[in-house]
Symmetry: C2
Subunit: 609 residues, 2 copies
């Protein structure tokens, strides 16, 4: 799996990057923020992205021969979107995109507004006895002249005769890549939208993006309609295994939720469905399988194999998603059964594979999805964490909704609680609260490194000794009226954090790095955003780095979806990630089992400081 | 439009051909019957079709680089399926397909049995923790190893997890080109079928072909269900113009007929629908538009533009055609509004574009579709003939069904009739009978070169003078009780044949050839098959060549559909035809109008002998 990276240098900027073999010069430039010009989306049809190869292979592609002159070919000019790197390369970039429109998204990533969906307004010559080209050819020729490739499926082909003639042959062609999505009368270039979907097991988030301005027009999040069929991926898979009707039921449930979100987004933003041409969908492998009606059963059992990993681009009507009736769905690639398109989105959003900084990225949930590395080398894995972080299997646990204790401080003998909803009475403990409580109990000396809680008898002088209680014969710590943390809850947390910590350790060991080498630790996902970095460090969930290097980075999966919706270059980067990332399977690894036992306990407090 | 043809020579066979610029070395070889080996269908993925380019351009394609060694590239070896000819070329063919399975089809054409639909039986390695490739990748890798490219749509992707596991990972992949159509448990290579459809305005013919043996398993023909909406293309278009409901109605009508034919074919041959993977459909441009639900209105009015001309390959379910639920429809290309895929099929079946012989090919119907030329240069056009040849607008005219007079001989004062159905009483005159009667009347001197029929008074001594009658004040010739040919019928025929004859003349004039230069005249279509060649010549429908050079070639459109179903090479040839054929639009041509007047009369009998 370990590939030698190749060095690519761009003059006159003298910017360089290291990329996997097979990356195009165009994509590699984008990795380091060089916006090489293009109007065709890297399809080799507009000719704008040409560069002069000074050192390196100069294979001539068919597109080169079509777009470049013999003299240019002779001088080493090549279309950078077609030129794949198979050795170290130096090239000269004559022209960058002038005044590129860009926005900061994800984790400080500058994203060029350059969507896969493009609109081209064309005024076609009307047919005559001297020019009997078919409607398709007429449109195709006009688009080719503007640098666009185009292919039309029956859905749009069947609209052509009527639309072209009603519009006097002045129309706007809507392209998703080279796929003709729609032909609209007149000039509609001002109206172009897409939706970024983050398909969480628990929560779905849809963001309606204006592809013209790059701005979010509306956001809507709601519970996944599959919730009644089980709280986590495994229970959803179990339900799907009860027959094809159950699989259809799960698919219908998530689609109903998504279509509900879409209707609300259209309503909120005042945007018509038939101006929404594309949606980028991220989610874990199981969620994507269920959305597409593909049996996820083999994901649930050894040896954990998905039906597909490649990104899919398909008509939204094939599953009944209510965007433009000929609109397209784009899924991001999957790395493995438990490292899905959500993590690929996260890696896009964090730039993990593109920056020199050595970083750990963890999305904590019922599975901990982990990526460790930099542009030099990047590893990814998934560690089963169980439901503790979602508040399940915890005596007084609950989801992170109103009334949940999400933060705790134990100082001067007082228990200070931070409750979701502000001044409401606490009704339970959510994941981030759980981590906080245990970390604080460690700090105040009421839980030892092995995870054992002191009894009131063992700590009679402690200012918080009144909170040490016994419930059903088990030691517990009282947080509020009727709400407490039990010894067993601590054990649950130890298993959950131990699994993730081990996953991180295995990857760091493979890379041969230690905590001291790390530049940053990024906590992603909705849970990661609420996690107290210091607490995460105290319980040993993340490696022992300075607390200010532990960053909550929010919903990176959703950010990745938005970025790849707004920029075909980012989408290309996402597509290339599976080849750039080494996937590590933890099941059956002896070092995973060995490490797991060794990290079940908590770090010594000294090591934490 | 006139392109310079390029010379390609194949050693050691020293066979040569002239092809349009851009033709591949692989296709050009097939044009002259050299069966270069291939298992991938000319997609550049099996590497078997390599040839050594001795003279000519040696551009290296990406596929070359993947399949050939550096030493081979250096020595001029190229994949012939990727190597396009842009200059005269000489190459060496190391290996032909050994013992190719072939059949004689169409007009003496040897067709290699090498269908676009391929079945590959693979035994996949089962997934393990060491090999977590997705189901798609697992299959893809195995097929790649056998030289096949593969892409999967959602319809087949969603079947993969279940089928692979139920079959113990021993499956047969069904590919239509590089499109994965189906994955079937076990080894099903013995069962592979397709259907060739000839979509006539009047009659639909479906032939169930065994893609394994190349044999027709069953044939079924029936009236086009669109008949109630009008007898000819123009009346169908008129109906379609009455609104989108009418268009849908026409589409539903032809689909109902086709699905009826399919059910009967399956029943007759004992073949299951889910073993029928592909159908090749030929028909005129209007029929193809209506089948696909595309408004044909612009075909019906000046300047006669179809919505599309390129061949389409689409899932049969998109229009509801009842072959395998993920099977594919292939349409052949259209040359112009009135020279459709039926004529392209005919040109494939006759080899018109591939042989040195100079030939005229005419498909006579309400439109005369005409192609004139050879492998050196080929022109095509359509001439509006009106309904006379179909028996319409003729006083005692009828379709070619039981009771129709289809042949007439006038000798020794006797009228001998040939009636469809044998010994039944004649009930009318069909197209071929009409041509025969007028030709015989010319021969016996009862119709002059201007088309004027003699009255009984003008030919009192003629042995057939008793047959010369007057009906409603118009001269007529009595054939049988109540059945006669009127002077007005002769005028109708003159217009019909004059239009077609003019079309032929215009093309011959452009080519600069005369009747003496012609090697053959081919009469195609169901009408052409019944036409008496001598009569056709006497009335001047076809150029004055020796009668034994006028050949009825039958349903060439259907033959072309079968050939392109059985041989991807023939299909490739069909796809390349639009670039090789010059389409001539007759409307508005002054030479058409001038010629038309000059050929309305009949040839002098001396010229005919």
């Amino acid at each position: 799996m370990i590939q030698k990276k190749l060095e690519v240098t761009y003059r006159p900027f003298d910017k360089a990057t290291r990329v996997p073999s097979g990356t195009t010069l165009f994509s590699a430039a984008h990795w380091i923020g060089l916006p090489i010009d293009s109007t065709c989306g890297g399809r080799g049809t507009c000719g704008k992205c040409k560069v002069q190869v000074i050192e390196g292979a100069k294979e001539v592609t068919i597109a080169d021969r079509k777009e470049l002159t013999a003299a240019e070919l002779e001088a080493g000019w090549r279309l950078s979107c077609q030129a794949k790197v198979y050795q170290d390369t130096i090239c000269l970039v004559p022209q960058l995109l002038r005044v590129p429109k860009a926005a900061t998204m994800g984790v400080n990533r500058l994203v060029l507004l350059d969507p896969n969906v493009r609109k081209a307004y064309v005024e076609l010559a009307e047919p005559s006895l001297e020019d009997q080209r078919s409607d398709v050819e007429r449109l195709q020729d006009a688009l080719t002249a503007e640098g666009h490739d185009m292919k039309a499926d029956l859905a749009v082909l069947s609209t052509l005769p009527t639309v072209l003639r009603a519009a006097g042959f002045k129309v706007t062609a809507v392209l998703g890549g080279d796929q003709l999505i729609s032909v609209e009368p007149g000039d509609t270039r001002d109206e172009s939208y897409g939706v970024a979907f983050d398909l969480g097991t628990t929560t779905l988030v849809g963001t309606l993006m204006n592809l013209r301005t790059g701005m979010a027009e509306a956001v809507r999040s709601t519970l996944n309609g599959q919730a009644p069929f089980g709280a986590d991926v495994i229970s959803r898979i179990s339900h799907a295994m009860s027959g094809s009707a159950a699989l259809a039921e799960l698919q219908a449930a998530v689609l109903a939720t998504m279509n509900g979100i879409l209707r609300e987004l259209y309503e909120m933003a005042g945007v018509s469905r038939d101006r929404v041409y594309e949606t980028v969908i991220v989610g874990n492998a199981t969620m994507l399988h269920l959305l597409l009606g593909i049996d996820p059963a083999p994901i649930g059992v050894v040896p954990f194999t998905p039906a597909f990993r490649d990104p899919l681009y398909l008509p939204a009507r094939e599953i009944g998603l209510e965007i433009h009736e000929n609109g397209r769905i784009q899924t991001l690639p999957i790395l493995g059964a438990y490292v899905g398109a959500d993590i690929v989105g996260g890696i896009v959003a964090t730039g993990l594979a593109r920056e020199e900084k050595l970083r750990v990225f963890v999305d904590v949930g019922t599975n901990g999805e982990i990526a460790v590395g930099s542009s030099r080398r990047l590893l990814a894995t998934a560690a089963p964490a169980g439901p503790a972080f979602e508040g399940s299997q915890i005596k007084c646990g609950m989801r992170a909704t109103e009334g949940a204790i999400e933060g705790v401080t134990l100082t001067a003998g007082r228990v200070e609680l931070q409750v979701i909803g502000g001044d409401v009475a606490p009704t339970g403990i959510c994941g981030s609260g759980l981590v906080d409580i245990v970390a604080q109990l460690r700090v105040v000396g009421l839980v030892d490194a092995s995870g054992k809680m002191k009894s009131r008898e063992e700590a009679p002088e402690h200012p918080l000794s009144d909170c040490l209680i016994v419930v059903d014969g088990v030691r517990a710590f009282l947080l509020a009226d009727g709400i407490y943390l039990t010894q067993r809850d601590i054990r649950e947390l130890q298993f959950a954090k131990g699994s993730i910590a081990t996953g991180i350790k295995v990857l760091m060991d493979i890379l041969g790095v230690t905590a001291a080498d790390l530049d940053e630790v990024l906590l992603g996902g909705s849970f990661g955003s609420y996690l107290n970095p210091e607490s995460a460090k105290i319980i040993g969930l993340v490696p022992a780095v300075d607390v200010d290097r532990i960053l909550s980075v929010g919903n990176t999966a959703g950010e990745g979806a938005k970025m790849t919706l707004l920029s075909f270059r980012e989408r290309q980067v996402a597509f290339e990630l599976p080849a750039a990332i080494e996937y590590v399977e933890l099941s059956g690894r002896t070092d995973f089992n060995d490490s797991f036992v060794s990290v079940l306990g908590f770090p010594e407090l000294g090591a934490v400081a």
